[in-house]
């Protein structure tokens, strides 16, 4: 229904554009930095320097970025995204480790704006969060960011003001290592994002006033009939009754879905098919960035194995996978070796299977490969209701429940298929520090802002996550990630901080420990110079990508060295522990990176002093 209306609207807008000759104004089809040739490592070319991409690729020590709002064409329709240097998504920022950079950001919007450099280690007053690191950039003024580049890898930047990120105020960042080696013959940036033609404030209001507004994949009578056929009447009723009793919905996978979103790859939708070129026998580095406001993607290239070499910009020991889930705000670098001169589909499916975007990896333009169909809408299991999945009586009641339990036993038993498939799970599963840490809920159950408590949260790092439990190929797990090198700080933690991820879906309230940002007295305090163990417990039924600014979080997943990340995604009823060196004095933002969760109050300030 909704899609049909969208379709009609599109046709209308297209006709309008033809009628007014508007198409001539709307040249943009892809992000101009996402040139099909990518970036070549060959010594003969110094890469992009030879080609003039104008200000769509910015680099050097003095960079200008101008933010405005312009009429552009997105997915064939006229839209008004926020542009940076006249394009949306914004220009590719290419820096080099060890350099100094001055970035002059001019605001031509009628509202205050900002740019946050996501994943950067820098002084807190350069971090770009209005109200935390600086007052924001006023209309018609310029703010100069100035900092040293102390890292390399794949990152991104985006507005931290209001809901501007949803309007396309974002862009990719590549920081080359000192030697300039990209670790492959060629590289491509693949930035995923979600675009809506609605006003982001309308989206937020819909979530607030009408729960399930965007979910057109809910259980219906015919699903109930099918389940009765499959599992019998009693089991079906019991399972339905449990969800209904909790006032929850097993098909709450993503809050905002393909019913309003058009998913984009480097600014292009599936129809317009962004194409990445390679030459036979080359190794190709794909820099995956999830710049979405609300969408988790499952990314795969049917017929091509991916070797994951970096997570959140930081190098990891290579892991071979066939598919990976990329949470909002995460980045992964994968290396692929296309066979012969085959053509491949770059396929990114939203986690709730409500839509996808695809591109093509090919030796020449204009080709395309088979595009997979969307998989079935997954359902959440018992863990999403805050229940532990080893409650024996519950087993078999729900497909997802059993598969979640299976995934757990598979990952721990050495003869299992998953253990064979994943390079790193051949190691025996180690006891994690977080297994022995008892977590505590507030006495009042985190108040009315929390409609669920995880009774028995567990580590779920070795689970692929909802919808991927039963796939037949290798899926990247957080337990697969091992740091490529030792990190400088190996001290034991001396301060422990525990935070619970809480929410009330019915009223779209999101918080930490049941308290929204405007309800807390002050910041979370990390003692300067100490080693912090941060324990996160997900007391909600949704996945949350939790992002700490300014400092790395080392994920205690039992591997040594641990992987370090700027964004950690938690599954329902999951607990994780993270090690942080509190070496960055100042105030830092700490929040859920789902844009509307953050705006609803799932935000804290971490003060290091």
């Amino acid at each position: 229904m909704n899609n049909r209306m969208k379709q009609n609207r599109r046709v209308f807008l297209k006709n309008a554009a033809y009628a007014t000759g508007g198409l001539a104004l709307l040249g943009q089809m892809r992000a101009p930095w996402a040139f099909p040739e990518g970036y070549s490592n060959s010594k003969n070319h110094s890469g992009i320097a030879e080609v003039n991409y104008g200000n769509a690729v910015v680099g050097g020590e003095n960079i200008k970025m101008t933010i405005s709002r312009q009429q552009k064409k997105i997915a064939g329709d006229i839209a008004r995204p926020i542009t940076i240097n006249d394009i949306s998504p914004g220009p590719l920022l290419r820096l080099r480790e060890g350099q100094q950079v001055k970035i002059h950001v001019t605001n031509e919007l009628p509202d205050s704006t900002s740019i946050h450099w996501h994943g950067f280690i820098l002084p807190f007053n350069m971090d770009g969060v209005p109200g935390v690191s600086f007052p924001g950039i006023d209309p018609n003024s310029t703010f100069t960011y100035e900092f040293d580049i102390e890292q390399n890898g794949t990152y991104w930047y985006h507005s931290h003001s209001g809901l501007q990120e949803q309007l396309g105020h974002l862009g990719p960042v590549i920081i080359d290592p000192v030697d300039g080696d990209i670790g492959a013959d060629r590289e491509h940036v693949i930035q995923l994002s979600d675009w809506t033609f609605e006003d982001p404030h309308d989206v937020f209001r819909h979530l607030k006033v009408a729960e399930g507004y965007y979910n057109y994949q809910q259980r219906t009578i015919s699903d109930t009939v099918n389940d009765i056929k499959k599992q019998g009447f009693v089991n079906t009723v019991k399972e339905r009754a449990m969800w209904a009793n909790m006032r929850m919905n097993p098909r709450d996978i993503l809050d905002v879905t393909g019913s309003t979103y058009t998913y984009l790859m480097n600014g292009r939708d599936a129809q317009t098919n962004w194409t990445a070129l390679y030459k036979p026998n080359e190794s190709v580095r794909l820099r995956l960035i999830n710049g979405s406001a609300m969408t988790y993607f499952d990314f795969r290239i049917p017929g091509l194995e991916m070797t994951v070499v970096a997570a959140d910009g930081q190098p990891i020991k290579p892991v071979k996978v066939d598919e990976l889930r990329i949470a909002v705000a995460e980045t992964y670098d994968v290396i692929v070796r296309p066979i012969g001169s085959n053509t491949y589909t770059l396929f990114a499916e939203s986690m709730d299977r409500s839509g996808f975007v695809r591109g093509t990896l090919s030796t020449e333009l204009g080709k395309e490969a088979h595009v997979p169909t969307l998989r079935k809408m997954p359902e959440r299991g018992m863990a999403a209701m805050g229940m532990s999945f080893d409650m024996s009586g519950m087993k078999g009641m729900n497909e997802m429940d059993t598969s979640a339990a299976d995934a757990k036993s598979r990952a721990t038993s050495s003869g299992s298929s998953v253990a064979h498939m994943n390079d790193h799970s051949s190691m025996p599963s180690r006891a994690l520090p977080v297994d022995d840490i008892n977590i505590k809920h507030d006495e009042n159950g985190h108040g009315p802002g929390a409609s669920m408590l995880a009774n028995n949260p567990t580590s779920r790092l070795d689970e692929p996550g909802v919808g991927l439990e039963n796939v037949k190929h290798r899926v990247l797990l957080y337990s697969d990630l091992t740091g490529a090198k030792e990190w400088p700080d190996t001290r034991e933690p001396t301060q422990t901080v525990e935070l619970h991820l809480t929410g009330n879906m019915e009223r779209y309230m999101w918080s930490f420990d049941g308290l929204k940002f405007n309800e807390v007295d002050g910041p979370i305090h990390f003692r300067y110079g100490e080693r912090i163990r941060l324990i996160l417990v997900n007391d909600s039924m949704m996945n949350h990508p939790i992002h700490l600014h300014g400092m790395w979080m080392e994920l205690e997943n039992g591997n040594y060295p641990p992987p370090r990340k700027h964004t950690i995604s938690l599954k329902p009823s999951e607990k994780v522990s993270l090690l942080i060196s509190a070496d960055a004095p100042g105030n830092w933002a700490f929040h859920c990176h789902l844009l509307y969760h953050m705006d609803a109050g799932m935000f804290r300030i971490v003060s290091v002093s």
Partner: protein, 249 residues
């Protein structure tokens, strides 16, 4: 020169950090803002045809404005019998302050009025408290206790349930029960349960915001109210067909 400035800026940042780390200037904007929002929902806006071949227009709406915890509600419900020359019957018009007291429940308190909207009307003004929210098993409920100027206490329970037929169509049973704890002579309300009304409707969403529906209902007077009706020669129960729309903005 470069290095000096680097050292200087590092020092400066270090100084700022140690002095400013805790305090964020009060004139900076908040990193995330809390907004108030609201909606007006006509849950029932319908035309009823009873078994006595009467045509009745019915409305049942709420409006609210506020944040996550505190909200202001306006609730109104009533009907107008067509072509009988009589005035509209206002079943309730209430203004309430609301507080979220549990994840799924709001406690509401306010004032209201009801009666026939005619010039010689005898409006019943009252104070009301409500428990408004979603009960386990997904029943949407509005439970109210009302005390009028004479001290008469009455109560009402309304519950709705949704069965999803397709992604955009719903079967919705509905129950409304009204009663009085004390007798009110002035408003013809004996004590005990007064009435029950059960309805079932099928609605089709053209958009989340607009869904026409058709349905049936059955209502009956209960207890002493039924006796009074019988004595007056009126029928105790009524069935009817409804056609209408649920819409919000």
């Amino acid at each position: 020169m470069k290095n000096t400035s680097k050292i200087f800026s590092t020092l400066l940042i270090g100084l700022c950090a140690s002095s400013n780390a805790q305090e964020i200037p009060s004139d900076w904007p908040k990193p995330v803002e809390q907004y108030n929002t609201g909606m007006i929902l006509f849950d029932r806006f319908e035309y009823t045809r009873t078994n006595d071949e009467e045509n009745i227009g019915v409305w049942d709406m709420i409006g609210w404005y506020g944040g996550d915890t505190y909200r202001l509600y306006f609730k109104s419900e009533g009907e107008n019998k067509q072509d009988d020359g009589e005035a509209t019957d206002l079943e309730r018009a209430e203004l309430l302050a609301s507080k979220l007291i549990a994840p799924f429940w709001e406690f509401q308190a306010g004032i209201g009025t009801r009666g026939t909207l005619s010039s010689e009307s005898n409006m019943e003004n009252y104070a009301v408290i409500s428990l408004y929210g979603v009960a386990p098993y997904q029943f949407e409920m509005d439970n109210s206790i009302v005390i009028n100027e004479d001290g008469d206490v009455s109560f009402s329970v309304e519950a709705e349930y949704e069965i999803r037929v397709t992604q955009t169509s719903f079967l919705q049973p509905r129950l409304a029960l009204a009663g009085s704890l004390s007798e009110s002579e002035r408003f013809d309300r004996p004590s005990g349960f007064n009435s029950i009304r059960i309805g079932l409707r099928y609605r089709y969403e053209f958009a989340r915001e607009f869904a026409p529906y058709a349905g049936i209902y059955w209502s009956r007077s209960l207890g002493n109210s039924a006796d009074i009706a019988r004595n007056n020669g009126e029928s105790v129960s009524e069935t009817g067909l409804v056609v209408g729309a649920r819409f919000w903005f």
